[in-house]
Symmetry: C2
């Protein structure tokens, strides 16, 4: 059975977890407490040499890092994968955009604003810089989503799941959803898709297999 190593509250861990729910793929979930440094334990490094979460181990024992690579693996041949060559390229374009223009800025701003609020004051300058850079990407995303139902013309796909991971918690990074109205409407549409589970449920039901 597929095994997902994940930590609570992570938008990156949320992506493969949601995809497996929506694709009805049974899996085992192993929670890694990154605030306690469990991702650097010898046991975990033997599984994920980079010491990062999420980490996915396939049924044949192949380890896959990088949340968006996991989405690709899970979705191949399913309705979450675009059916055309151009659609697949378009999906990857937005998945690379997410990992270079959104996640590297929303994620740390959120971490030091909401997950470790004790450090908020000390990181004020960094947080402002991350928010400003995230705003550039989010404004571009808002323009893209204006007049569209989902990221791609072909409908809901892994490009939506990848983008949703951190974008739907942008207010926890001190940004305002009201500044990105098309994004806000799209977030509601994604949350209404079949089999959707909220990030807050990750780790609450220990696994789909349990």
């Amino acid at each position: 059975m597929i095994r997902l190593y994940a930590c609570l509250g992570s938008g990156n861990c949320f992506k493969p977890w949601l995809a497996m729910h929506q694709l009805d793929i049974p899996f085992e979930l192993e929670l890694i407490d990154v605030l306690k440094g469990e991702q650097k334990s010898p046991d975990y490094l033997a599984i994920s040499p980079l010491g990062v979460v999420p980490h996915l181990v396939t049924e044949t024992g192949c380890g896959i890092g990088e949340s968006n690579a996991m989405l690709w693996y899970l979705a191949e041949g399913s309705h979450l994968m675009p059916a055309t060559r151009e659609g697949r390229a378009e999906a990857l374009q937005w998945m690379f955009f997410e990992q270079s223009k959104l996640e590297p800025f929303i994620s740390p701003a959120r971490f030091f604003t909401t997950i470790l609020p004790d450090q908020r004051a000390a990181r004020e300058q960094d947080i402002a810089a991350w928010q400003a850079t995230a705003d550039v990407g989010l404004s571009r995303l808002d323009a893209h989503l204006d007049g569209r139902d989902f990221m791609l013309h072909g409908g809901y796909s892994i490009a939506d799941i990848a983008t949703f991971g951190y974008v739907h918690v942008l207010e926890e990074a001190g940004l305002a959803m009201a500044d990105y109205p098309a994004v806000g409407q799209w977030v509601d549409r994604v949350a209404a898709t079949e089999g959707f589970q909220p990030l807050s449920d990750l780790g609450q039901a220990k696994s789909k297999a349990a």
Copy 2:
């Protein structure tokens, strides 16, 4: 015919350009002078709304951004695309790694060290920080390549082209190839693959169609 918009010297532009040479795909090359700001001209923004290079336009007029998404588009169904589902996920894992742990640090360090050397002194502190972060990723890459011919067990693929784009010019970013011996050997192996063309040739022969 496929049209590639690219600028001279760019590791990201080099990726689809090399892939089209190695896959024997005819294409037209349009050079964009980013040092003159041509990527922000109204004409170019009508083609690439983000104003970035590279940008690929397919034979049906579909625009694709993000160099690694272009690689995927170009390589589908070819020998540069892994033949298994796990191999494709592994390729994407390294392609996302390249865009998050290598390119964002090697590229700006190289830009302010080699491409605009006049700004080197003023950006000394930034350059040192980029180099230090690039070293973390490069050390991980060196460990991965130790004892391997190419990035994936299945042989030379788009995962190599994606990684090669900026890694092979790391000395232009003020880093030392001697610090990453397995990377150095792999660079030589990639440069010896069939149909290889060096980055210095990009833009010299205006296009494969010409």
